[in-house]
Amino acid sequence: MKRVIEAVVQTTDAWRTTGARLALILMLAVPAGVKASIDTYEFQDEGQLRQYQILAQELRCPKCQNQNIADSNAPIAQDMREQVYRLTLEGKSQTEIVDYMIERFGEFVTYTPRFDLTTWLLWLGPGFLALLGLVVVVRMARPKSVSQAPVISQEERDRLKSILTQDEKPS
């Protein structure tokens, strides 16, 4: 965090001449500051910071449903952020941390559910329905086949001809 602030100060000094650029930098800097207002975590490198941020967006708070743990102020979301931070520092990978949370709070806790026996319909359903729709549309749009005229045999043709000629004679 400190490094980020220093970087912003240096950049603003260099770019002081352009007000618009300064505003842009402030706009970029402020959200990061606001987000870290409750938790102040220090990471060893950028990769860890990024992993923490991704996971905080990706994990769902079990208490305040429809909020991720970055957005939620529920005590449990705070605990989860703390655990994500601790596990990240321990060098755990993103998948390992998600599995750790699922083990405790169930599939509910991740916004990207794993593909397994209970979630295959969720993953494949939309694609299948889209495909089905496509098939229906294609079939409906295809022009009706032209060879709809009834086929008559030579025998029927002769009979037809004789009927027609018979009709003509009396008149």
């Binding site: 079990p62 208490k63 449903q65 529920a74 655990q83 699922i102 405790r104 709070f105 169930g106």
Partner: protein
């Protein structure tokens, strides 16, 4: 044949309505515990009343336990407390307390004032066991069988309805399975 095919969309709609309709009555805030059917997580926690006494998951084996997660900061815990006293008094199951992210002095005072339904109470001030168990708020109540496997979780207040329609049937089933 073609007439029957015309019924397919109708059948699909009915199936969809049934699926969606069955979900209407569900309470979305009640989540299935990920721990059901799995061993109770390992822990080592002090007794609430006695810092020298330590409990582990081994203390939750050999009998059917009703583990109640509670705290003095939780108003609903106060609501369900009389009913827990009743369950404990009727000796239907061993009731154990899990004091969750709480203050020791306040918690001891609470039990002295309201009565203590718990055979023993785990003191979990940081909520670590709670986290491992998947507790996301208090009160929560778990059923643990004699092998130390989590069998049921109820989120929210335990009252007569919950006891009779949810917990007791599971307890009876587990007892019958054991006999």
């Amino acid at each position: 044949m073609n007439r029957l095919l015309l019924l397919i969309p109708l059948l699909l709609v009915i199936a969809l309505l049934l699926v969606l309709g069955s979900g209407l009555g569900n309470d979305p805030t009640k989540l299935d515990s990920a721990r059901i059917g799995k061993a109770f997580p390992a822990f080592s926690l002090q007794s609430l009343q006695n810092a020298d006494k330590t409990f582990t998951e081994q203390d939750l084996k050999g009998d059917l336990f009703l583990l109640n997660v509670w705290a003095t900061w939780c108003p609903s815990c106060k609501t369900e407390h009389p009913y827990l006293l009743k369950i404990a008094a009727e000796n239907q199951v061993v009731v154990v307390g899990h004091n969750y992210k709480d203050d020791r002095v306040a918690a001891i005072k609470w039990l002295q004032q309201l009565g203590d339904p718990y055979r023993f109470t785990l003191f979990d001030p940081k909520g670590q066991l709670g986290f491992d168990l998947g507790v996301y708020g208090a009160p929560e109540t778990y059923l643990i069988d004699a092998q130390g496997v989590v069998r049921y979780r109820h989120v929210g207040v335990v009252d007569e309805k919950v006891w009779k329609t949810e917990l007791l049937p599971v307890i009876e089933r587990l007892r019958a399975g054991k006999a």
